[in-house]
Amino acid sequence: MNYIDLFRATLPETALEVAALLVLVLDLSLLRKAALKARVAVAALLGIAGCGAALWAVLLQGNQGLFFKGTGEFLLATGGYAAVAQAGILVLTALTLLLLIDSVFTRHVGEYVAVVLMAAAGGLLIAGARDLLVIFVGLELLSLGLYILTAFAKSSGKSAEAALKYYLFGGMSAAFLLFGFSYFYGLSGSTNLAEIQRAIAATGPSPLFYVAWILVVAGLGFKVAAVPFHLWAPDTYEGAPAPAAAFIASVSKVASFALLLTVSLNWLMPGAQGNGSLTYLWGVYQTWPALATILLVIAAASMMVGNLAALVQVSVRRLLAYSAIAHAGYILLGIAVHPVYNWHESLIGFTQNARGPAALSANAVLYYILTYGLTTIGAFGVMDVVERATGSDRMDAFLGLHKRNPVLAAVLLVLFLSLAGIPPLVGFWAKFNLFAAVLGNSGGVVPFALVALAVGLSAVSLYYYLQVLKRAYVMPAVDETPIKAHPVTLTVLVGIAAAVVLLGCFPALLQGWIGSFRP
């Protein structure tokens, strides 16, 4: 490893950091006396330019990376599915920055944008990380940014409260995670995911390994807001300023799921290291069912709790939080179910197409999380506009929205129906791909039952999404004064809705793009 390689591998992160510093310097020096609007516009545009540069770097990098000293294993990988997640992170970050243009919750725009960019850099790191230390550093970079963003509405007590809760919960989870990492290092003598997998496969799993795994799952489960590590989410979604909440709900989710995907591809999937000899397979075969079982339990619990708790919410922010928990459950299902289920039945069949189905379910997970992030940003954008006009995020604030602002109501309709998984919107294909991948990977009864549960709960979710839409379209309006939205905000929201429709009508566009990154 030399500095040239380091620079090359971390080019996207570097671009973001440079942009963050530029924003800070400009905002605090040249633009000190400028009007708030101009400062917001400059900061957001610079941030978007940074994202653009980083995106260019990501797409240019190709499959390479930074090697772990002395081995052929990656410390930090680029290309492949990491590039897909990174590109998604950058695009979604740029969208949340665009939504900032109309926001009024802070005067410290330079700091806000800089923190967003640094958090996004953390997200890029963990999407490509293959080493416990890099993972932890990236995760903390991301998390610390999120805590600050949540607290950014300084005049709002709710914001501060939410940030403190989030911080305490996050700190505790990070402690668990680090504790788990230290066990892994102790068990294997390495911090590299692949090395750890080999070491544990050689010795066989011990109870300590299980404890370490649970600790890691607790840390990562916190990031993706999976039950029972979800308790922070409703409060945070409710208290954070809307652009920050949109960032937490989308970018942070993409990065965290990319990390979970890395972990599961390295540890859950036998033979993923490229040397699928039978001893390895046996070694992992004995460890994995328990690991995946935990993920399945968490997935089922998230789907149940998220969807059922969302039914009784009256705050749209909390509703989105619980729906996010439910979506996390679906995605975890895709991450947990791997071709090993087939392996019981036909060893040869499995070894022949081990990479095929697993890559497929990874694709489906990426497809889901990217489109979900896009849709959620739009949902938060609409909610933000309504909240500022009415002063409330209650469902009743949406009464008569189609009369007060028909475009906004139409965007909401498209996004919520997509979240519920109605064809031909993109949310339908996300669910379809994911469930098809799960069923394709395993002939087992348990995954089948879980998919059936997920489909049933998707139908349940339609109820609470329609509760909001019913207020926007059907129920009589209390107040019919028009709601005005900033033209940029409106353009972004309409663009997101159009993308949701377009990607839904041509599902192979995004599928093909993700597939083109297959390692």
């Binding site: 505790m172 299980y210 308790l231 079982t293 497929l360 599902p507 192979a508």
Partner: protein, 690 residues
């Protein structure tokens, strides 16, 4: 039977083929834009619709010229652009579009006739308050129809096909406040649905057998030799191969759309729509989509035929077509509504096209399709002009003598009528109908279709003369004096009239440009084309038949049409057949007492089942629960009354506990986090031991 068409496969699509998708996309986008317009924005709506279709026409012409140019350099062109639409794992569904002579010719025809009718509509619909909505639907229709034409995938074709059906429904029922229009729209939608169900079955079967729905895909398409050979090897029921069975299923869809017997009943009723709609959708383009579909999947229909032979599917197409041709022409004789006569004539002519496809191949059927599109659109627009001029009167018995009141309409209408009758040499209908008759004469299976079609030609000349006699000759029998239509309506008539005559030039035996173009052959001008054995005799026969029909019609109706209240001349001569024909041979009534009666009965049965059986079961369960509840209440009041109060307390505490979980207190959250970790570790260690 012609020999198999050979096309050189094109590996790289030309630039014009790459952007072919714009041709349907632009009118569809325009339609969406018009949908957003407010009602009074009439001019913008018309401009958008006409502008978008002009753009499509321009592109279509460029594509056509490109194809002609390539053909002139030898060989046919077939350029396809395909893309993956849905991908699930390793299986995928592809869509695409194709540019070949067939689609190029059809594109130009649809866009050109459509544009003329759009322009005409601005005059015809001038006083309608829903002018913008009309152009929204019309534009959507044009886009969808162009989509049908360029589809290189049965699935994409089916989507556009359904979209076309939808707009047809919307436009037939455009004046939905008229009960007849609303009923006609429903009837059209549901009757074509019968055919479409079979069509969809055919598509699914086709996909299951070949694994692709692309027509052409560099050798891997479903209409290419590999897939067809596999289909032929696959036996289906009743001695059919899979190819034959799928072909028949697809033909059922085509029959529904193209009004072939026994699914023709919707088309005459569809005349309740505005006349430009009848001209565009129910005469020139949409109803021809079925014929086009058969032409498009012709390799499938033809699969397995030896040289000079035919296949079951094509035989069925021929018989259905020939029967429909005569059947509808007979009914047309006894109709009095100017548009209904034309509607039955359309059904009859569609039968000719089907028969032409079945016996003579793609070029024969398609040539009649193209010429018919022009002269039938002309006739409908002429009829619209007449109706407009006669103050919305549609009964031919209440018209008369219009040749002096509406001279331009009369001249153009007469040209269209002569073209439809197949008047020799100077009219396109003569050449295209002759092509079909010639193919019928040489058909190896039977000679009956030939005689049927000749008889149909006689009837055609007769009923058209009757109509023209009623409308344009004699004396005015209406109420208010008729007037000529504005130029925006008559100019399209004149243009269409020109093509109704001129198009014949490209399909004469001496210079069979159209056939050579579609088949990708070289072309030369040779008078010896007429010297084929029997050809001159055939032309003589058909000429004689046409003159016989014209003469009979003129003899009975020329200039001496009866008063509206008096019975028709033929009715006096043969009352019983007249009543039968007048009542459309009672096909509607037959359906009423069979299919519809069956459905009504079935609905009653289902209703009865619902109320008595299922409802009874539900009620029974409810009663059982009630009984159970009564028992419980008895036990409750007597035994566990005290326990109930206790239970209430417990529940209240439990609810409080749940609420406390999400209390907002961080200490609780963190405690729960620790508990969760411990619990999960316990689960994990327990499960791994098992």
């Amino acid at each position: 039977m012609q020999e198999t068409i050979s096309f050189t496969p094109q590996l790289a699509a030309s630039p014009i083929a790459e952007i072919l998708w714009l041709i349907p996309a632009v009118p569809i986008v325009a339609s969406g834009a018009i949908a957003l317009l407010k009602q009074p924005k009439r001019r913008t709506a018309a401009t958008l619709a006409i502008g978008s279709l002009s753009f499509s026409l321009l592109l279509a012409l460029v594509a056509f010229v490109h194809v002609v140019g390539e053909w002139a350099h030898g060989g046919g062109v077939r350029e396809t652009v395909n893309f993956t639409w849905i991908q699930v794992g390793s299986s995928h569904v592809d869509l695409g579009w194709v540019l070949d002579p067939l689609s190029a010719v059809m594109l130009v025809m649809v866009a050109f006739v459509g544009l003329l009718i759009f322009i005409y509509s601005t005059g015809y619909m001038e006083h309608d308050e829903n002018f913008t909505r009309f152009f929204c639907f019309l534009s959507l229709f044009a886009g969808a129809m162009l989509g049908v034409v360029i589809s290189n995938s049965l699935l994409l074709l089916f989507m556009c096909w359904e979209l076309v059906g939808l707009t047809s429904y919307l436009l037939i029922g455009f004046w939905y406040h008229k009960p007849a229009a609303a009923a006609a729209a429903k009837k059209a939608f549901m009757t074509t649905r019968v055919g479409d169900v079979f069509f969809l079955l055919g598509i699914v079967w086709f996909f299951a057998q070949t694994g692709t729905l692309l027509f052409y895909n560099h050798g891997a398409g479903s209409l290419e030799p590999v897939a067809l050979a596999a289909l032929l090897a696959q036996p289906a029921a009743l001695g059919l191969t899979a190819a034959g069975a799928i072909g028949l299923l697809i033909f059922a869809g085509a029959a529904g759309k193209s009004g072939q017997f026994p699914l023709h009943v919707w088309l005459p009723d569809a005349m309740e729509g505005p006349t430009p709609v009848s001209a565009l959708i129910h005469a020139a383009t949409m109803v021809a989509a079925g014929v086009y579909l058969i032409a498009r999947v012709y390799p499938l229909m033809q699969a397995g035929a030896l040289t000079g032979g035919t296949t079951t599917a094509l035989t069925v197409v021929t018989w259905v077509g020939a029967f429909t041709a005569v059947f509808a022409a007979l009914i047309a004789v006894a109709q009095n509504d100017i548009k209904r006569i034309l509607a039955y004539s359309t059904v009859s002519q569609l039968g000719y096209m089907m028969a032409g496809l079945g016996m003579g191949g793609v070029a024969v059927g398609m040539f009649h399709l193209i010429t018919h599109a022009f002269f039938k659109a002309l006739l409908f627009l002429g009829a619209g002009s007449v109706i407009h001029g006669c103050h919305e009167e549609q009964d031919v018995r209440r018209m008369g003598g219009l040749r002096s009141d509406m001279p331009l309409t009369f001249v153009t209408y007469a040209i269209g009528m002569l073209a439809l009758c197949g008047f020799p040499l100077f009219f396109s209908g003569f050449w295209s109908k002759d092509g079909i008759l010639e193919a019928a004469q040489h058909w190896s299976v039977a000679k009956t279709p030939f005689y049927m079609l000749v008889f149909g030609a006689l009837l055609t000349a007769f009923y058209m003369t009757r109509q023209v006699g009623y409308v344009f000759f004699g004396y005015w029998r209406g109420h208010k004096a008729a007037h000529e239509s504005p130029a925006v309506m008559t100019v399209p008539l004149a243009i269409l009239a020109f093509f109704a005559m001129a198009l014949g030039l490209i399909g004469t035996p001496a210079w069979p440009w159209f056939r050579a173009f579609l088949d990708g052959h070289a072309l030369a001008f040779q008078m010896s084309g007429f010297a084929e054995p029997g050809l001159i005799a055939l032309m003589g026969t058909s000429t004689a038949v046409v003159f016989l029909g014209l003469g009979l019609g003129w003899w009975l109706y020329g200039g001496k049409a009866p008063e509206p209240e008096q019975p028709d001349v033929l009715e006096k001569a043969a009352p019983l057949p007249w009543v039968w024909l007048r009542n459309r041979l009672y096909v509607d009534e037959l359906y009423g007492v069979t299919v519809i009666a069956f459905y009504a009965w079935w609905a009653r049965v289902a209703d009865w089942l619902d109320r008595r059986v299922w409802g009874g079961a539900v009620t029974g369960v409810a009663w059982a629960f009630r009984g159970w509840a009564q028992l419980n209440r008895f036990l409750d009041t007597n035994w566990v009354d005290g326990g109930f109060d206790k239970g209430c307390e417990e529940l209240a505490t439990g609810g409080g506990l749940l609420a406390r979980v999400q209390s907002g207190r961080v200490q609780t959250y963190l405690r729960l986090l620790a508990v969760a970790v411990v619990a999960l570790v316990a689960i994990l260690i327990w499960s791994s031991r098992a």
